[in-house]
Amino acid sequence: MSVLPTIGLEVHVQLATETKLFCGCPTTFAAPPNTAVCPVCAGFPGVLPVLNRRAVELAIRTALGLGCEILPRTKFDRKNYFYPDLPKDYQISQYDLPFSRNGRLEVDIPHGPGGGTKVVRITRAHVEEDAGKSLHDRRPAETCVDLNRCGVPLMEIVSEPDLESPDEAHAYLAELKRLLLALGVSDCTMEEGSLRCDANVSVRPAGTTALGTKVEVKNLNTFKGVKRALEHEIARQSAALARGERIAQETRLWDEGRGVTAPMRSKEEAHDYRYFPEPDLPALEVPRAWVEEARRALPESPRARRGRFVSAHGLPASDAAVLTEEPAVADFFEALAREIGEAKAAANWVMGEMLARAKDAPGGFRALRVTPAAVGDLHRRVRGGAISANQAKEVLAEMAATGRAAAEVIAARGLAQVSDEATLAGAVASVLAENPGSVADYRAGKGAKAIGFLMGRIMKATGGRANPNRAREILEAELRGRAGA
């Protein structure tokens, strides 16, 4: 049976604050267990939450970036459930007066039937605190609980069920991540749990309009996992429909290792969260001035930037896409393009050697110790014939690792290319004197073979430093002269 999937995503993204949402504990990733915990986030009796101003600012920026309407008055609510890593037995979240709602994200769907631009509606984006972490595998009979993440500020971004395939869901997540990075509101590292995703999935037979029963799939911790989980879940629901079964409305957990979703065993009532207003936090009147200031400071969206790299810099769309994955990369490209006045050459520097280095560097692209001015300087040296393009790769790698200038690296490695006429002519003359056989070959009409061999000798004689184009010109002129004589 042919089916149409309908997918909505709930994305949890960690806001890039120094401290937690309601207390001053640091949000450092991978701190030793239970070392970033205080009476507030551990849920001790009698403590009071105090809202982090920076989290509010980042939430405003996120909401505006998503084109959301920001509610002038927003409040926090308690979402009640029992789990060992939730010491208060409730999560401070937002229920009926969320921070923002009614946004949109334009997503370029690369291929397939839905290819083109798609507007995904954003239902709401609200602020909430994270829970702690339960480690089930450390001990045979007990679960270990680490409360470091308790109270870490999250923004939950809920989409309308506008996505119609796992590929579309993937494209939406990728665009959302690019936007959040450009806004500077989150690190978006899925491995560190700063971007997490749940999906609502249903299928309906092709040709029908009523949506099928919605199943919630949790525990999607990688982009690839999201796609695989959705593919699996859609296949599972399709097969059930084909057998004439009803789809149960339930929550299922994705098992990345086994590649399947399985129902959570909880009883229905576990999902009765009994939301009620958080009595310890009065409503937040969001200052209009903050909103307007944030609106003015909003950066260009990655999608607009991508378009501009094509229209204004004349780059191929594929280059523009690679360069706008990360704002630091796009910024570097633009500065370098200005520096050397050639967009495509700038794109090649960044996409080639620099991104290759960034992949291996622990801190990624931003950890590379070169400035656009330094790469521009290197570029001019290659153009001027001081070193070859191949040597430049080595030089750039060392510059990126050490922060040294191009001139310094070239001198230290003895790489400077020899373009000096007299030096090259001397090298050509001695190589020709040592290889009369090749000169004879040339005369006998085997020019290409002779030149190839002699160029190899010249490069060897100069330690690889001869400017190959100049050396070849001199060699060819010399051979022509001798042949004519």
């Binding site: 604050t17 401290t19 829970a131 089930h136 450390r138 007990e142 679960t143 929550t251 909880s266």
Partner: protein, 99 residues
């Protein structure tokens, strides 16, 4: 809304409370009296009045995003009924959580 024994059992289960039959009946009567009171309040005409989740209007104070030292781990873990040097320990739970 009538408060039935089933409703009391449901609410008690949500709150992880184990109630004996007499207790359950006592709570049933309490809850019913409570709802009776709400029914009286509901008769007040509130047309044009904004819902107010809080009894008083005060501005929400905000805190600067500046770290303060957490409690030493030994202190955080001190009252735990079961623990290691690093973790709280609870009976094995394998299911996912609410959100």
């Amino acid at each position: 809304m009538r408060v039935t024994a089933d409703l009391v059992a449901h609410v008690a289960a949500l709150a992880r409370l184990r109630l004996g039959p007499e207790e359950a009946e006592a709570y049933r009567r309490h809850l019913e009296a409570l709802l009776e009171y709400v029914r009286v309040v509901e008769t007040v005409d509130v047309t044009g009045v904004e819902p107010s989740p809080y009894p008083f209007e005060i501005a929400l104070p905000l805190r600067e995003d500046v770290p303060v030292p957490p409690l030493p781990r030994e202190e955080i873990l001190r009252n735990a009924p079961a623990r290691t040097d690093e973790f709280f320990l609870v009976p094995k739970v394998i299911e996912g959580k609410g959100s």
